[in-house]
Amino acid sequence: MSTLRILRDLLRYNGEFAVGLMLVLIVLAVAGCSFFSPYPPMDVYVVPPDVPPSWEYPLGTTSRGQDVFWQLTFAIRNTLLFGIVVAALSRVISLLVGLISGYKGGWVDRILMSINDTFVVVPLFPILVLFYFIMRDEMTWAMLAIITALLGWAYDARLIRSIAMSLRTREFTRQAVFSGMSTGKIVFQEHLPFVLPIVFSTTMNNINWSIGIEVTLSVLGFTDINTPTIGGMIYWANQHTAMVSGIWWWITFPILLVIMLFIGLFLLAISMNEYIDPRSRLSRLGGQA
């Protein structure tokens, strides 16, 4: 019930949340359409090629004889799924590292944070490219998701650590220690609920980040190009020099849709952040911070 009330308040007082939610819902609806597609995603020359947007083909057709709209539904579904899988996997790592590092302190903290800072600083893109270079055709969708998750947890782990550090000094932690709770229990039963709100907002940003990686890599042709994704669509359009031959609808619609997703998720993330920080929430409700 309270979740519903939070949602209602957010919708009423937070314009960013309302816009973000709307954008994400539209993208989700498009992704949902993929289940009703009349064509299998990988079939080519199922419709006449290079037809501009019309009543029959609302977003036109590609030079490979695919309907842009139905292709787009599969592409956005796979892209979105990629982002969610990466975000979920990397959340597990950043929660583990952040909570343990923040609670333990001392040597454990120092070592974990050195590794953490390394992952923040190291330029990940060349490493991903190197990875593709070695794997080549063996590079599957799942493989890329795992490797991206392994590289993308560090920034949020630091955030979680800072919260865990302040939780450690609170009364209830001391009481838990004195009543003989084990470290694992304290961290995951007592502290986890406090960091969950911030984890939700970092999830949105992490989905954005990983989709950005996926789009970039597949546009360059550095992923499994036979799984339809947004980046893969742009890759094929580039391969057929769609822009030069005037088939703008092949490139424009995937880019527009993915930009809607980026902005939607980002707005959700910042509005949640504001909700978590009560000072800015007060000023939004008309009070004085």
């Binding site: 190291v122 490219v129 190197l130 270079f133 070695i134 989709i211 980026f262």
Partner: protein, 334 residues
Amino acid sequence: MRAYLAYLSKRLVQFAVVVFVGINITYLVTHMTPINPVEQSISAATTYGATSPEAIEMMRQSLRQLYGLEGTPWEQYVAFWKRVLVGDFGPSLSAFPTPVSQLILRALPWTVGLLLVSTLLTWILGNLLGGLAGYYRNSRILKAFGVLSMGIHPIPYYVVAFVLLIIFGFLWPVLPISGGATMASDRSNTFAFALDVVVHSILPVLSLMAVGIGGWFMGMRALVSNIVTEDYVVYAELAGVKRGKILRSYVMRNALGPQVTGLALQLGAIFNGAIITEQVFGYPGVGSLLISAVHAGDYSLVLGITTVSIVAVSATVLLIDLLYPLIDPRVEAR
């Protein structure tokens, strides 16, 4: 001084850790994957037409040496580090026999220049506008800029660069969309050449700035609007200190510290963005070199670029950290 030395040594250790872990990831990626790169290259090379078994065996030998797959795992690991420390990645396969290091050195100035200009412009402009927006909360123009930069901020570099390319390359072709300078241009006239380079860099720099500026803007605005409520700012206002001076010396100065740290943390991501932007605009830097190396199957070049970028980025982060006490002298006391 003593405190600064302690700070210095801590930063140096962190630098060493970053390089060590980064290079080890590179090693793991190249050696621990279930794929045998040698067999892959051979099958790629022998797909078209038959080759004699002796020739294949010779090829296998030389490829094994090149990929550093000779000897026990420990020997391979030591040999890998030796090559990294000396900076010798052997000759490039696609531009044989030019050494990899020479190719990278040729491309590096372009990337460094692009990064330096765009990062400094983005950081300064973003913080300045963000500071103003946090201090003068009711300004319409700054609010509009905030919404605009926030809208572009979450979009990845590739997409922004690509959209700019379409706008200035197809819809309104006024700027050069490819290359670092006009091809086969006369380089004897230094001024004209410099101008040419600047004109060619406008689009890449713009796309890097468009993505980057929102983050600094929002960060600075949040920091400043927090600092403005502090007692000492209220006191300075009541004491009649000029608003401009309050903003410059009381508010911005204090907010600058976290933003410098932020720059150090973001540098890796900014570098990634530059690589991608270069590829989109055909800029002759490290990024384009990396992508073309992958397409050409040039293993030593890909490995060389990855290693050099890890070392270069972490060295720059170290440099920012070392300069940090100039902005915030309190670090030394910590």
